[in-house]
């Protein structure tokens, strides 16, 4: 693993650039365990963590504290530790892009389903909408591009693939992911505490839903 790069982010913080999403999760875990003084917010993403400082914090000190942070050199995306929460999401694999995904990956539709449910994913970071988690890990054969034309309306609960990620739309919105199925599980519910089902760092296990899906 190469050393992280610290990039300037105004006078508000530091953008920490690392090798890959697995390294982001290792950094994220390390920052959870030993949060340097003066850190207001940590925004993990695909290959970076944005570390936002408290107003008036010394960025030079923050940078050296980050540089001195004890981050393991290796560990896969799925290495969530023994205490990691595992969230099961039953999916009806009836998405409109399932056939396209099969064609793009060279797998049969059944093999796509088997691949999607075969290995756990991990919530690498949030964004896009409240409750949306970018899921990393999973079966590498499922890497597919986004759709050329984003849909103007993707229903809540749609399960999609894009790049090396998977994700579930928490609410109806436009979107360009390849849709392979739907889930009846609520990803975002303000009446629940916490409202987000998927929290950064948690493991996600997709399963084939046994009951017939709600009509969509």
């Amino acid at each position: 693993m190469s050393a992280p790069t610290f990039l300037p982010y105004g006078d508000a913080g530091v953008l920490v650039e690392v090798d890959d999403t697995a390294a982001v999760l290792r950094w994220s875990d390390a920052l959870q365990a030993h949060r340097p003084a003066g850190v207001a917010e940590i925004v993990p993403a695909a290959r970076t963590l944005l570390v936002v400082a408290e107003p008036g914090a010394d960025l030079t000190e923050l940078r050296s504290a980050l540089g001195a942070l004890d981050v393991p050199n290796s560990g896969a995306v799925e290495d969530a530790g023994p205490d990691a929460e595992v969230i099961e999401i039953p999916v009806h694999y009836d998405g409109p892009d399932l056939a396209d995904v099969a064609q793009l990956t060279g797998l049969s539709e059944d093999e796509v389903v088997a691949a999607h449910t075969g290995e756990p994913w991990r919530v690498a970071f949030g964004g896009f909408a409240p409750g949306f988690g970018y899921l990393s890990g999973g079966d590498p054969r499922l890497e597919v591009p986004r759709r050329d034309e984003p849909r103007t309306r993707v229903p809540a609960g749609a399960v999609g693939l894009a790049g090396t990620s998977s994700g579930v739309y928490p609410r109806e919105s436009p979107g360009g992911w390849q849709l392979i199925g739907t889930t009846d599980v609520a990803l975002w519910d303000l009446d629940r505490d916490p409202p987000a089902l998927l929290r950064q760092g948690a493991l996600v296990q997709f399963t084939v839903a046994q009951s017939p899906g709600a009509q969509r």
């Binding site: 300037p8 982010y9 105004g10 993403a45 944005l50 970071f125």
Partner: protein, 289 residues
């Protein structure tokens, strides 16, 4: 009977705002909160509210409220919108007492974009995820004010207002100059200095998510490819493929995939939130920490 405000008119957009929702970026919820944090905090301070109580963010005036259930001390800051109590001009950046049944009217400001009306005790609508801020991107928090709404006012704080008037800010600089630190993705565009060499114009698509600029183009570098999503923050100057920068404001997305070529220094972000559509903006590079 608790004091409350009845909304008689809202103008283009009137929202309840406070300091926002920290610590939720991991579940895709940004900070939000008052777009001009300085003006918001000042309004609270003048009416002797503890920091963090909710106030009204009024975009381009047009707000009219009736005070019910008792008299109420209010203060208007930010864009210097003419303030009237029962049609009589009242001072901004000063505590103003409104009698029970009194009407408070905020006219469109001559300069600036957003005014803040703090009420003593704070606007006490139900918080959502710990905040009374409306986030236009996440569609979270109290709905935009609508005619006929009744907003409860919280209990009177123990401290008393200690000032008669505070200095109003100036919003008549033209063009508005915003200081910014280069990076983190200045290498992803042909020439980041186009940003500081161009006089930009804020477009009509400017809102609480971002100030959208036109008047030139910061071209993406040849073969730069696609940047994986990364965290963004208030003040980030993001350049989409058309080259027209967006300065992210209070309701910015949590992550984004277009290069951020510079970040407006925190002290100037509140000034950016007061730029009106059609107004000119320039950037000046400064060094970081």
């Amino acid at each position: 009977m608790t004091v409350r405000l009845r909304v008689l008119a809202t103008g283009p957009l009137a929202l309840v705002q406070d300091e926002g929702r920290p610590g939720l970026t991991g579940v895709g919820v940004g900070r939000s909160g008052a777009a001009d944090r300085t003006a918001y905090a000042l309004a609270n301070r003048v009416v002797a509210n503890p920091p963090g109580l909710a106030a009204l963010e009024v975009t381009l005036g047009g707000l009219e409220v009736e005070v019910l259930g008792g008299s109420l001390t209010v203060c208007l800051t930010g864009a210097p919108a003419p303030l009237f109590v029962d049609d009589v001009p009242a001072g901004t950046h000063a505590p103003v007492t409104v009698p029970e049944g009194g009407h408070v009217r905020v006219d469109p400001p001559p300069v600036g974009l957003r005014s803040y009306l703090a009420v003593r005790g704070g606007v006490d609508v139900a918080p959502v995820l710990g905040s009374r801020s409306h986030d236009v991107l996440a569609a979270l928090g109290p709905a935009p004010l609508a005619e006929g709404d009744e907003l409860p006012v919280g209990p009177t704080p123990p401290e008393h207002p200690a000032v008669d008037q505070v200095a109003p800010p100036r919003y008549d600089d033209d063009p508005v100059v915003l200081r910014a630190v280069r990076g983190p993705r200045d290498g992803w565009v042909e020439d980041p200095d186009v940003l500081v060499a161009t006089t930009w114009t804020a477009t009509e698509r400017t809102n609480r998510i971002g100030m959208r600029l036109s008047g030139g183009a910061v071209q993406h570098a040849e073969g730069a490819g696609e940047l994986p999503s990364e965290g963004v923050w208030r003040g980030a100057i993001q350049v989409p493929p058309n080259g027209e920068p967006v300065v992210f404001l209070a309701d910015h997305p949590v992550t984004g995939g277009y290069p951020v070529v510079g970040v407006v220094v925190d002290a100037d972000v509140d000034r950016a939130a007061q730029v009106r559509p059609g107004q000119q903006v320039r950037f000046r590079w400064v060094s970081g920490a």
